[in-house]
Every structure is written in C-alpha cells, then in structure tokens.
Amino acid sequence: MTANGVLYILVFFLVLLALTKPLGLYMANLFEGKRTFLHPLLRPLERLVYRLTGVREDSEQRWTQYAASVIAFSLVGFLFVYIIQRLQGFLLLNPMGFSTGHAPGNATAMTPDLAFNTAVSFMTNTNWQSYGGETTLSYFVQMAALTVQNFVSAAAGIAVAIALIRGFARKQANSIGNFWVDLTRATVYVLLPLAFVFALFLCARGVPQTLKAYQKVTTIEGAAQTIAVGPVASQESIKMLGTNGGGFFNTNSAHPFENPTPLTNFTEILAILIISSGLTYTFGRMVGDTRQGWAVFAAMAFLFFAGVFICYPSEQAGNPQLARLGVATAATRTQPGGNMEGKEVRFGIASSALWATATTDASNGSVNSMHDSYTPLGGLIPMFNLQTDEVIFGGVGSGLYGILLYAIVGVFIAGLMVGRTPEYLGKKIEQKEVKMAMVAIIATAFVILVFTAMSMVARFAKNGYWNPPGPAIANLNNSGPHGLSEILYAYSSGAENNGSAFAGINVNTPWYNLTLGLAMLIGRFGFILPALAIAGSLAAKKKVPTTNGTLPTHGALFVGLLVGVIVVIGALTFFPALSLGPLVEHLVMREGRLFSSLLSVAPGFSPACAPMHRGAAWMLGIWS
C-alpha cells in the first residue's frame, strides 16, 4: 500500500461520513411528509404525478397491499423493458441500426432470453449485463427502458426500506405507508435532482451526451476508429446514485467515456454509497433515536474498512508470476505498480480496489476495473461482500432493509444466549420476524449455491436450446479454481442483485440468461416480501418499555454483535465454496502454478433432455 492510497481511502470515508447526516435528515423529513427546501420547485411535479395516476396522497396501505403494489409495479416495469428491447429495431433513436439490417458487424442479437435477462436485471436493480451496451442497444432502449428502471427500481428499494422503518416507528398501526407516494417522493425529490446535477457535472468533465451516431475518425497512424458515444451522462449519474451499476458501455466505469478523470472516479464512488449511507441516519431519525442509525452505520463502516484493507494490499502486491518476467510491480513515484491487468492508469490500484469494495458493499455492481483479473484474495473481497447480502451500506433501500433483517437475527441470537424474548427498538422480536429474516437470508444463499453447482456439472446436448453443446463450464474464460470463481461470482451477483461480474464467462446463452434471471427475481423479492411482512407485523405491535434487561442497540456491544452475525452467516454458508475458488487459487498462485485447459468434466445432468417442470429431478441428479 502507498501512503497516497491510504489517504485516498480515508478522505473518501470522511467525505461520506460528512454527507450522511445532511442527506439522511433531508430524506427523513421528506418521508415523514414535512416540507423540504426543494418543495417550492418540485411539489408541483409531485402533485402532477398524483393527478395523472389517480393516486390518493393521504391514503395508507397495509403491508399486503404495499407488497402487491411493489410486485405489480415491478411486473409492469419488466414488461416495459422487455417489449421496448424486442422492438428496438422499429423504434426511434437507433442511429446504429441495432436489430435491423444495418446493424454493425459486431452487434449482438437481442434474443428473447437476453431481453428477459436484461429486463429482469434492470427491474430488480441488479443491472447484470449479458451484453455489451455499445454493441447491442439503441439509445432509445438505454434512455426510455434502462434509465427509467435505474430510477424507479432504486426508488422502490428506498420505499421498502422506509416502510420497514415505519414498522419499527409506529405503534399498534395497521398500515405502513403508501407505496405509490413513497415511490414518487424518492424519485422526484431524491434521485431526480441529484442525478440531474451529477449528469451535468459528469458531462463537463468529458462524459458524452449526444443522440448522434458513433463518431468515425482516422487515427494518427491511419487506422479507422469508430468511437461509440450516446446519451451517456444522463444514464451514468443515476446508474451510480441508484446503486444500479449497468454500464452504457461494455466495460462500464472503466470506459473513459463513463469515467474520464480521477475526479469523476472519486465522485462516482461516492455516489455509490451516499444514499445508502444517508438512509442509516434517516432510519435513526425516524425511529426517534439517531444513535440507532449511527450504530448501524458503524457496523457497516467496520466491514467496509475490513474489505478495503484486504483488497487493496492484495492488488498492490500484484501477481508474483509477472514479477518473475521482469515486470516492475512495486509502486514508485512514476508508476502505480501492482496488479494492473484490467485496471486503468488514471485510477491506479487504490481507487480501483476501493471501487471494487464499495460497488459490492452496495448492490451497485458497476466496475472501474475488471474483477475477473483481480488477484485471488483481491477478488475474494467483492465476492464475499456479495455473499453477505450486500448490507455494508448496501443498495439504496435494500442495504438498509437487509441489515435490519440481520439486526433481527442478531438480537434473536443475543436473546437466546440470555434466555429472554429479544427486542429491537422497543418492539418484541418474535417467531414471525425471525422466520421471515431467515427466509430472506437462506433463499439467496440457496439459489447461489444450487445454481453454481448445477452449472459446474451441467452438460448440454448437440443442437439443444440451452447452451452450446458440451459442459456449461466451457463458457468460462479461465480454468482451474478461477473458473469456479467465475460461476460462483455470477450467481452471487445475480441473487444479490449486484450486477458486477467476473466477466470472462460467456453468459449470453439461454441457460445462463434464464437461471441468472431467476436468481435475480428470488434475490429481489426473497428480501422485499419478508421485509414488508416484518414491517406489517412490527407496526401492529405495542412498544415495550426499556428495562435493565433490554440489550441496548446503540452501543459497541450491539455493533460487534451485528458484525459478527453478518460475517459468521456469510462465512459458514460460503466458506466451502470460497475455499475451492479464490482461497485455493491464492495458494497455487504463490506456488507458481498456472492453468491452461478446462478440467475434465464428470458426466452431469442434461437439461436438454429434461423438461423444465422436472426441475426438482435435476437437483437430485446433482447429488446422485
């Protein structure tokens, strides 16, 4: 590590800390229905939404209605994105002619399974991309389908988090707010103004914003170069703020047009975490004790630092194999050194490792360097962050409701130790809450491990629909333990709604598109529905008075408990898989071992001859 790198990370954290209270306070006021300083400007727009959509601003919903609204809205969003993508060849703003006869030679076809995967991906705030943006999508799809979901899927996440906070804050109530109102306010007052200002800032620093076709130039040495441009800035800003992460271009924020300078890089990392961090303060404020919010913040901050300071030194140490070839991997005044494969010179090692940690702490999933090319331990951190359900600041909204579910499990475990009914924020935590929290945590882990196992052993028939013939691991770009990591990372990213990738794996086949789509759906709604059920259950409860026997949830003890629960659950669930992937890769890398060909594959199950409805039989096939 270099002193400059450490300084970068510390300054980053201090700026984040400084912004947490003002933004959190603003959101608390907003969602408690108070006037904010932006009301004179934006209140007319909010009223227009209600007038045009027929939503009654003063009506309240029970948790079941709230959940039904989330699901209906998500389903409609999915259909919008799917249909717009499939029709892109007939729609406007398609200067490169994607999905038409004039498409460039390197264009990717918009197949039904790719459109399904992408629609699910953006609707669930995952933004996993089985395609490269500049070779697949028209400007109209990028704007009217993907940018829209960047806003509203993020706003839906915030809404659910606010509903859960209300569950803690309210007493003997039968409602938890109104989804349509929360959705509108999150979009109009939080995301839109921030995204608008940030987009103009990014454009001023060099992010393109045009509707014209790609620029054709002749380089100094006389080669033809086609430079992809587009309405990038308007999508880039909300992609960072809404913890979406779906890049306009294939290489995401490593692309100089998404992230041209060190300053845009710093502000984009900040944008990943700022709203989620602010929501911890919103939480404390709305439950009437800001110390509760800071306790959650402290647990997140601890895990954040632990991640960065494992990832960064691993990357700075670099790849010993390259050092043996006479490559300088030590940092000097004039070069970044370290593991520069997949990293950009303007960012160097520290801010790449910081980004990799932050983007997987949150459910952002954008990248400014390629995680697939990280050293084994450097890549372990993003992967483990995903597998802890992204509660280290987390996605906008989803991070907060995620960590509150962990807090429920935490106080439950503490309650077991002393033999007392656990309480959190004055609410008794009983069977229903604990069950719901565990459903969410187990569902995602199950999906990750089962789909990974299936993809390791799947073998496909000739002329089948699912995948090119042969084993599913033939889609990998790396072999040996790193190959397992590619698959494990893919399903972790999907199920946790992250969207980053060990991107060497070719996932644009029906097998991966459909199973990853399914993983995203289970990950998204496997968390939202339990969170809302808990909100409804808690809202109906009385407040119990604090006594000597109550575990204080604003102190160091609780922070330690929360961190412990998150790490232990993640570690116990995923340690076996991680030890076969990044951990063993780390050991063999130090020995100098390299991998060049795919391992031979044991005969596995064959989806091509097993109809979908026999899915259960497939799973049995894995273990038989």
């Binding site: 027929g54 490269g132 620093r205 380089t219 390259l322 490559v327 004039t334 890398m589 060049s596």
Partner: protein, 194 residues
C-alpha cells in the same frame, strides 16, 4: 393485487416519459449548449479532420511514437465501438503468455532501456481504451522515440515531464501521460524524418 395494476401501469408510463425522455432530453440540450466539445466525445482535430478523442486510447506501433498499453477491445485492440478487457485471472496461462510476449517485444523495440518493465505497459487495461500510460512507461520508451526522431533523450524527457498530468488535488488518481496528446506534441515540435 390485480387492483394495483392500473396505478402501476400509469406510474410506469408517467416515469418513462419523465425520466426516460424529458430528463435525458433536458440533459442533452444543456450539455450540447454548455459543454459542446465534451458532450460529443472530446474529439481532437488536426487541420479540421478528427483524428481521435483525447479520452479514448488509439493504437501506435511505429517507433517514433509512444506506444499505449495492450488492448483487449474488439478483435485487434483499441476498437472504440466494442470496449473490452482480457478478463484473465492471475493463474491463467494465457495471461502469462501474453505478458511474456509483450515483455519480449518491448525489450526488442527498446534495447537501450535496461530497467524492469513498468506493470501498466504490459498489462491490458479494463476498458481496452485506456488513453494513458504511466510516466515510467513513457520514460521507458524515451530512448527509442528520441532515436527514431533524431533527438536527444533529454528533449524527449522534457516533453514527457511537460505532458505528465499530476494527481488531481494532489491525491486523486495517478500521475499519467496521455498517449495521443504527447504523440501529437511530438509531431508538432519534432516532426519525424520520413
């Protein structure tokens, strides 16, 4: 549940118009007016002809120019319509083979440079379009460029120093040299003998 679909549909339609068309449209209009050059890709023109973008890397192979990093974008590298990385892991044989080939080629092209090869010069970037190399990577090529243009190495070093961008605010990012910009400066100040 079905009663929720009507408001869901209307909400989605409204937001598609607001944040899918009005918002990007407004940002486009303002950007084109305020930041015209950046909004269109920061193109660099020589005598009215666009030769590239100062933000996007392009390939240089001739000895009188500074060379950029290896690129995995498109099939031949530096394809700015298909950004891409190698995505090779640290234990991938192909990574080591490719780096070794780059090191060997670098040694052959730069016989006067004896030090270790800077890491960024033989590794592929994340985007495949990295416009920069580190100052050390420029330094390592100085002798070759000087010889090809009939200059003293000191002259080239001065140019490198002038074109080395420092860290923003003293601590953000890394010091770097924009390959296209320094090569244009070479052609401007020290035209190559042809």
């Amino acid at each position: 549940m079905w009663r929720q679909f009507a408001p869901a549909f209307r909400m989605m339609l409204f937001f598609t118009v607001l944040v899918g068309l009005v918002y990007p449209g407004l940002v486009t209009a303002l950007s084109q007016a305020l930041f015209h050059n950046q909004a269109n890709g920061t193109l660099v023109e020589i005598r009215g002809r666009a030769v590239g973008s100062s933000l996007i890397g392009q390939n240089f192979t001739q000895p009188e120019y500074f060379h950029p990093r290896p690129s995995a974008a498109g099939s031949d590298g530096y394809d700015a319509s298909a950004s891409g990385a190698s995505n090779y892991g640290s234990t991938n044989q192909k990574l080591i083979d490719r780096v070794k080939a780059s090191v060997d080629q670098f040694r052959k092209e730069n016989p006067d440079y004896q030090g270790p090869v800077p890491a960024d010069l033989v590794t592929a970037s994340g985007s495949g379009l990295d416009p920069d190399i580190s100052a050390a990577s420029a330094e390592a090529q100085a002798a070759r460029v000087a010889k090809a243009r009939g200059l003293t190495v000191d002259k080239v070093r001065q140019l490198i120093a002038r074109h080395t961008k420092a860290r923003t605010l003293g601590f953000l990012g890394e010091p770097r040299v924009n390959v296209l910009e320094i090569n244009l400066a070479l052609d401007r100040h020290f035209p190559a003998p042809r």
